[in-house]
């Protein structure tokens, strides 16, 4: 394409501006977690690992981290099982309402978290409470799973579309029964898609706060909930900053890996 010099400069400026708006604040958070100045004066007066040590030694932070990991693993496990099964059903069989199912799976990611949160909160309290199951870790996991399923579903569906059914037919043709075909052909070719979907699901769950607020009972505190609670306590500010920085890293790594896995088709083609 032939762009005039000014048009090109404008585009570059827009791109740089857009990226700056997104990433400069994140960078500031990261840098401030090493800032020796307690009030985050700018520019930083010195480098320190004090806040990281403090965060590491805070039982509140540790408990919250562990809670988040548990919730993330639980939601990811549910998402892997359900997302894979629905993707297979939608791709391999035609049945009444197939398009509707596809839409319903994708919808939760578009619904405002506050709507999902209120709806789940109501549902859990009317359905589960009579059975003596209160809001807690279980309800958080289920709540997160509602929007985590879609990442697995999308990854698996895309992979199934690309593979087609002919390699599975080839396997049956060469003498393998359905189980052997799944073990030796379908699953190995599915593996990186499952990993990518699972990593994304975990990342989504890990930094979720709105649905969590409505589905976590009094006893459950995930990392984002902990941050929110301590955000306005001045003496906690440096530790909050460290936790935020850690969250950034922990969310970026899975997403980066997932991108590599689902984009890097070399191994799967």
């Amino acid at each position: 394409m032939n762009l005039s010099r000014t048009a090109r400069a404008t585009l570059w400026a827009a791109l740089a501006g857009g990226l700056a708006v997104i990433y400069v604040p994140l960078l500031v958070v990261l840098l401030n977690s090493f800032n020796a100045d307690r009030t985050f004066g700018w520019p930083p007066t010195g480098f320190t690992l004090r806040w990281w040590a403090a965060a590491w030694n805070s039982t509140g932070v540790r408990d919250a981290l562990w809670t988040s990991v548990q919730a993330g693993l639980g939601a990811t496990a549910i998402a892997l099982v359900l997302g894979t099964m629905v993707a297979f059903a939608v791709q391999r069989y035609s049945f009444f309402g197939r398009d509707a199912v596809s839409l319903l799976i994708i919808l939760p990611i578009a619904l405002p978290g506050i709507v999902t949160g209120i709806a789940l909160n109501n549902a859990f309290r009317t359905v589960l409470e009579p059975f003596g199951v209160g809001l807690g870790m279980f309800t958080v996991v289920v709540g997160h799973a509602t929007f985590c399923v879609v990442t697995v579903y999308n990854n698996v569906l895309a992979r199934l579309r690309r593979l087609g059914a002919s390699v599975e037919e080839a396997s049956a043709d060469l003498g393998a029964d359905a189980f052997t075909t799944f073990r030796l052909v379908t699953f190995p070719m599915m593996r990186s898609a499952l990993l990518a979907g699972g990593l994304l699901a975990f990342a989504l769950s890990f930094d979720e706060i709105i649905v969590t607020t409505f589905t976590a009972g009094a006893g459950v505190k995930t990392l984002p909930l902990w941050i929110f609670e301590n955000l306005f306590r001045p003496n906690q500010a440096p530790v909050v900053n460290v936790v935020a920085a850690a969250l950034i890293v922990l969310s970026v790594v899975p997403i980066y890996l997932a991108q590599r896995l689902s984009g890097g088709g070399a191994s799967a083609r």
Partner: protein, 342 residues
């Protein structure tokens, strides 16, 4: 006589309202190189898939070596398929692909390694064992697919347009090679193609498919020289039909008749015609010089048109192209004209 390798009885298949196969009866002998020839959409692949077990017939039966296998799953049938898109396993190397069938049948490791290497040697792919399918050319993938199927020594090998994705030169090479591999291993080959030349040059017998049924079964010479129907006459080679009033005037009989273009001689109007020959006069409307031969399109005075193919034994392009518009007599042996079903 032993049971045929494949026997199809009253085979039909419909997909909803689409009647893909509408009644196929066929016996294929052990060790035959058999071609299913027909235009795209005529049901060849569907028949092959019913033999392999990927589709259940709407009605009819499939027998392999005398045993009814209609209800058996693909992995219970003693046939292997070379798929049109090869369907190699992308996550395994060439050796893994070729060993796969033996591996799932629990053949001991040493034996399966030996057989896989031998199969790769027979398709001239030594040294490629550790490559992934993604690192091979189209022709090499085709050979891997062939080796992967042959290594199992099936009763019948099914090939669905296996050369369709290759360029012309490679395709001609592989035609010769497939034929010699088949002779070597002695396995029945059932080969699907829409290319009439491929079917004629490679196979022992050909079944010509049209709209889900077989129009004619025979040796390549039979199908080419004595087409049974107008469809076969036009699909296998060039259609050259004399029918209706022209048949009355030229041949003195009712019906539709076919004469192959190379059986016609382009003669001068006054040339003598002997008792064993028929002839028709007409005007040359088109002359196509094609190197070794020239194609004449002649509009018959009695109606209709015939195409005559003449070897360029003495002439060159300079001589023939000036013949457009001249009046000629087409002469042929009576034994080369055949009545066909219109």
């Amino acid at each position: 006589m032993s049971d045929p390798a494949v026997r199809l009885c009253g085979l039909r298949k419909s997909f909803g309202g689409v009647h893909a196969v509408t009644g196929v009866d066929l016996d294929i002998a052990d060790g035959e190189f058999f071609a299913m020839l027909g235009p795209s959409g005529s049901g060849k692949t569907t028949v092959l898939r019913m033999i392999a077990g990927f589709e259940a017939p709407t009605s009819g039966t499939v027998e392999l070596g005398g045993a009814d296998v209609t209800r058996l799953a693909p992995f219970e049938r003693d046939v292997n398929t070379v798929f049109q898109d090869y369907a190699l396993f992308p996550h395994m190397d060439v050796l893994g692909n070729v060993e796969y069938g033996l591996r799932v049948k629990r053949v001991p490791r040493a034996e399966r390694r030996g057989r896989a290497l031998a199969a790769l040697a027979s398709v001239r792919l030594e040294g490629y064992e550790r490559r992934r399918p993604g690192q091979l050319s189209g022709g090499q993938r085709q050979r891997v697919a062939l080796a992967r199927a042959l290594v199992n020594r099936p009763r019948v090998l099914l090939l669905d347009e296996p050369l369709g994705a290759l360029d012309l030169k490679l395709r001609e090479e592989m035609q010769v090679e497939l034929k010699s591999i088949q002779r070597e291993v002695g396995i029945t080959f059932l080969f699907v193609t829409h290319d009439q030349e491929e079917a004629l040059t490679m196979s022992d017998r050909v079944a010509v498919f049209n709209e889900g049924r077989i129009e004619q079964v025979g040796t390549p010479a039979e199908v080419y020289e004595r087409p049974a129907t107008a469809f076969v006459a036009s699909f296998v080679g060039t259609s050259n039909l004399i029918s209706g009033e022209a048949a009355q005037a030229v041949l003195g009989k009712e019906g539709t008749f076919s004469v192959r273009p190379e059986k016609l001689r382009v003669a001068a109007l006054g040339d003598p015609v002997d008792g064993a020959e028929h002839s028709a006069t007409g005007t040359v409307s088109e002359v196509v010089y094609a190197g070794p031969a020239t194609r004449f399109v002649v509009e018959l005075d009695a109606g209709g048109r015939l195409i005559a193919l003449q070897q360029n034994l003495q002439v060159s392009s300079m001589d023939v192209t000036g013949l457009r518009g001249t009046r000629v007599r087409l002469v042929w042996q009576r034994r080369h004209e055949f009545a066909i079903v219109p």
